[in-house]
């Protein structure tokens, strides 16, 4: 008995000490305690098979490129020149493989058929309105409440807005970030249909170096717009685009870049190791954090809208606010905090349809609501 007690007491101090130290360690991903069969998170989104890359998301990259070029065309309208609806619609649908000559490259992919179906008409409508308003823009019509036209920003650039103050470029570009890119990530490529238990992860897709499951997950990643070494190991060569770009610019207060990248990398590694349980965990993280990213963008634009004095700047920010908040509609039903009706209500109650009539009270209510739901209270004023 005495011998046992002495042994036990000699063990207490080091045991307690070790326990305390490990209990204090920061929650940094997987390297806390060595667990058998833990899936590690690679440093970059790079995966090989037989000495060649097994990654493929060129279709997604082409669509990101298409949205870049569509936006460039919209900026021409912002600058006060006329644009044609036919050109913009052809770019949206990638008519003839090169947007009927409006794209600088050829692709078999398009934005339109990957856009949330019920919203295709919404975007075609905005495209048509852009073209119509661009005639007013070319005639130097100044926009006001009820009148579409140009507004001058504080940097002396102009933007083209509709009669409700909505900047066409933001409604379309940020709108498609939500209705196409985010929609595909949340409601296609991270759903059972594409990465579920019955999706093949054994045979190579015909003529390719990847399985179906690997490819589908790559396609989700491709819509995020991040370089393969984003963010912790980013060497600056690949462009940071669209959603990844916003994660990057809001990083200081939202800290979403690495959680998202790590979830993508770990999820892809889990597929390599055929660990569907780990894959599903990462899918939860990806969807939750993408929704938080959208909320962070909205809160950011509330802050900018409230503090800016220049009218053109303000409507530009309010347009972004509107489009980003609207993107919450496309969240994964299993994880989303608001369904489509609730998102539409958030917008109609706090922003409304006419950006000229937005109130500080409405913006603050929206900001506080999103901040509470998505846990940004400690940083909401700085976002």
């Amino acid at each position: 008995m005495i011998i046992n007690n002495i042994k036990f007491n000699h063990l207490i101090l080091p045991a307690v000490f070790v326990f305390t130290l490990t209990a204090c360690e920061k929650d940094e991903e997987d390297d806390i305690k060595p667990v058998v069969n833990e899936v590690s998170t690679p440093a970059t989104y790079s995966f090989d098979r037989n000495g060649a890359s097994s990654i493929s998301y060129s279709g997604q990259t082409e669509r990101l490129n298409q949205l870049d070029e569509l936006k460039a065309k919209l900026l021409i309208a912002d600058g006060g020149s006329q644009v044609q609806a036919a050109d913009l619609l052809a770019m949206f649908a990638n008519t003839g493989g090169n947007g009927n000559g409006n794209f600088s490259f050829t692709s078999t992919k398009q934005l339109e058929d990957k856009t949330f179906g019920p919203d295709v008409a919404y975007f075609q409508d905005y495209i048509n309105k852009t073209a119509t308003a661009s005639i007013d823009g070319a005639n130097n019509v100044v926009a006001s409440n009820g009148t579409a036209g140009l507004l001058t920003r504080s940097n002396n650039n102009t933007i083209l807005v509709d009669e409700n103050g909505m900047e066409f470029t933001q409604a379309i570009e940020k709108g498609l970030m939500g209705a196409t890119f985010f929609y595909q990530m949340a409601n296609v490529y991270t759903t059972a249909d594409k990465i579920g238990a019955d999706v093949n992860n054994t045979e190579m897709v015909n003529g390719q170096n990847y399985t179906t499951l690997e490819h589908h997950f790559d396609e989700a990643f491709g819509y995020f717009g991040a370089p393969v070494d984003f963010r912790a190991n980013y060497n600056g060569s690949e462009p940071v685009r669209f959603w990844a770009k916003y994660a990057n610019s809001l990083e200081a207060n939202s800290r979403l870049s690495d959680p998202l990248m790590n979830a993508f990398k770990k999820g892809r590694q889990a597929i390599v190791e055929n660990r569907r349980d780990v894959l599903n965990e990462q899918v939860i993280i990806i969807n939750q954090q993408l929704e938080r990213l959208i909320a962070a963008c909205s809160i950011h634009y509330v802050n900018k809208s409230l503090s800016i004095s220049n009218t053109g700047d303000r409507l530009h920010y309010l347009s972004e606010l509107y489009a980003f908040t609207r993107a919450l509609r496309f969240a994964h039903p299993s994880f989303r905090k608001y369904n489509i009706t609730e998102v539409d209500n958030l917008i109609s109650t706090n922003i409304g349809t006419n950006l000229w009539d937005v109130t500080p009270q409405g913006l603050n209510t929206l900001k506080n609501e999103l901040s509470n739901t998505y846990n940004f209270n400690s940083v909401k004023d700085a976002l």
């Binding site: 207490i12 200081a252 207060n253 900018k304 409230l306 503090s307 800016i308 009218t311 004023d381």
Partner: protein, 360 residues
């Protein structure tokens, strides 16, 4: 046994202490940031916000007297109170954070030049909403400046017979009273404590936010808004006198000088009671940047001297008749920016973030 027990507890305690997050005071210096933030909140910001609320309430009372008495002496009294309130506003206009940011106080109180066409249209049509963000150019001090001072006192007294005219001014002043009261109450009941507790120098800290909002105001609303744009810095040298703050009442110079003085007081930590306590200058001294502190204090003085040179008469006239002196004042204001936007943040480990593009 006993020795072992105390040793165990000591080790546990040490292990926990060594593990706590050191989010505060990442500079690792000896400066008591909490004291600085508390001083600014309690002795500079709160009393100034309280004063603003009081002065706007008094303005409302003086307007009520004048609108019913319709005598010139009551107009004089009210116009003096207008000047007092507008001047008091200059003591907090750079604080676009917390409660003031929530109600967009600066935009609501002082968007200029005011949209005189829209104001007249509002009054005539009786169809307006001054609660929207886009109504900023139709309200606040600049709108009152136009409505009170664009005509002679006698002409103004005649307008008092127009019920729409009176109702519009009622609405504008009431809106200002509500905003000023909301901001003061929020600061008084909880934000002063929140502000004082967010130590550190990261982006979300009080120091980070204060440095950014101060610089942004100094650059855009003070240097450019009050002097630069009117004197023609953005219009290839063509002066735009009608873009001057307080264009109609002509008190522009008083306002710009007062704003500079109040920002200097904030920098020094001088409270409403006139006592100099902890603020940026002390922080710089603690960071062994006494030389920078001296240069900042000196440039405040040089800038004030330059503004005093163009003080006589109306600033809108000086801009046209004495353009080179006004430009000279602009350049002295510009020199201070280099110190407070680049050197000061660098010494204190603060990031200036308001210049970031919006990821467009």
């Amino acid at each position: 046994m006993k020795k072992y027990s105390s040793l165990i507890y000591l080790c546990i305690a040490l292990a926990f202490v060594s593990c706590t997050d050191d989010e505060k005071d990442s500079l690792g210096d000896n400066f008591d940031q909490s004291a600085m933030l508390t001083n600014l909140a309690q002795n500079v910001f709160l009393p100034n916000y309280e004063a603003l609320e009081e002065e706007v309430i008094t303005l409302q009372a003086d307007w009520n007297t004048f609108k019913s008495s319709k005598v010139a002496s009551d107009f004089t009294k009210m116009s003096e109170q207008f000047k007092t309130a507008y001047t008091t506003y200059q003591s907090i206009n750079y604080l676009d954070l917390g409660p003031a940011a929530n109600v967009a106080l600066r935009n609501n109180f002082n968007t200029f030049p005011t949209d005189t066409t829209q104001i007249n249209s509002n009054i005539q049509s009786e169809n307006y909403n001054i609660n929207t963000l886009s109504s900023y150019p139709q309200k606040g001090f600049p709108a009152l400046d136009y409505l009170f001072f664009s005509t002679s006192p006698n002409q103004l007294i005649n307008k008092l017979n127009d019920a729409n005219f009176v109702a519009y001014i009622d609405a504008l002043i009431n809106d200002m009273v509500l905003s000023a009261a909301t901001v003061y109450n929020d600061w008084n009941t909880n934000y002063a404590a929140t502000f004082s507790q967010k130590t550190g120098s990261d982006i979300g800290s009080s120091l980070g936010m204060l440095t950014n909002t101060w610089n942004q105001h100094y650059e855009r609303n003070f240097r450019d808004g009050k002097i630069g744009i009117p004197v023609g810095i953005r219009s290839l040298g063509l002066p735009l006198p009608e873009k001057t703050e307080a264009y109609f009442s002509g008190i522009s110079s008083d306002l710009v000088i007062k704003n500079l003085e109040e920002m200097e007081k904030m920098y020094l930590g001088v409270g409403n009671d006139g006592i100099n306590r902890s603020s940026f200058d002390d922080y710089l001294l603690s960071a062994e940047a006494a030389e920078l502190d001296n240069r900042i204090k000196n440039q405040f003085l040089v800038a004030k001297t330059a503004l005093n040179k163009i003080k006589s008469g109306r600033l809108s006239d000086q801009i046209v008749n004495n353009q080179s002196e006004v430009e000279a004042a602009y350049f002295e204001l510009q020199k201070l920016i280099l110190l407070i936007k680049v050197e000061l943040p660098s010494r204190l480990g603060i990031l200036i973030t308001y210049q970031d593009n919006d990821g467009d």
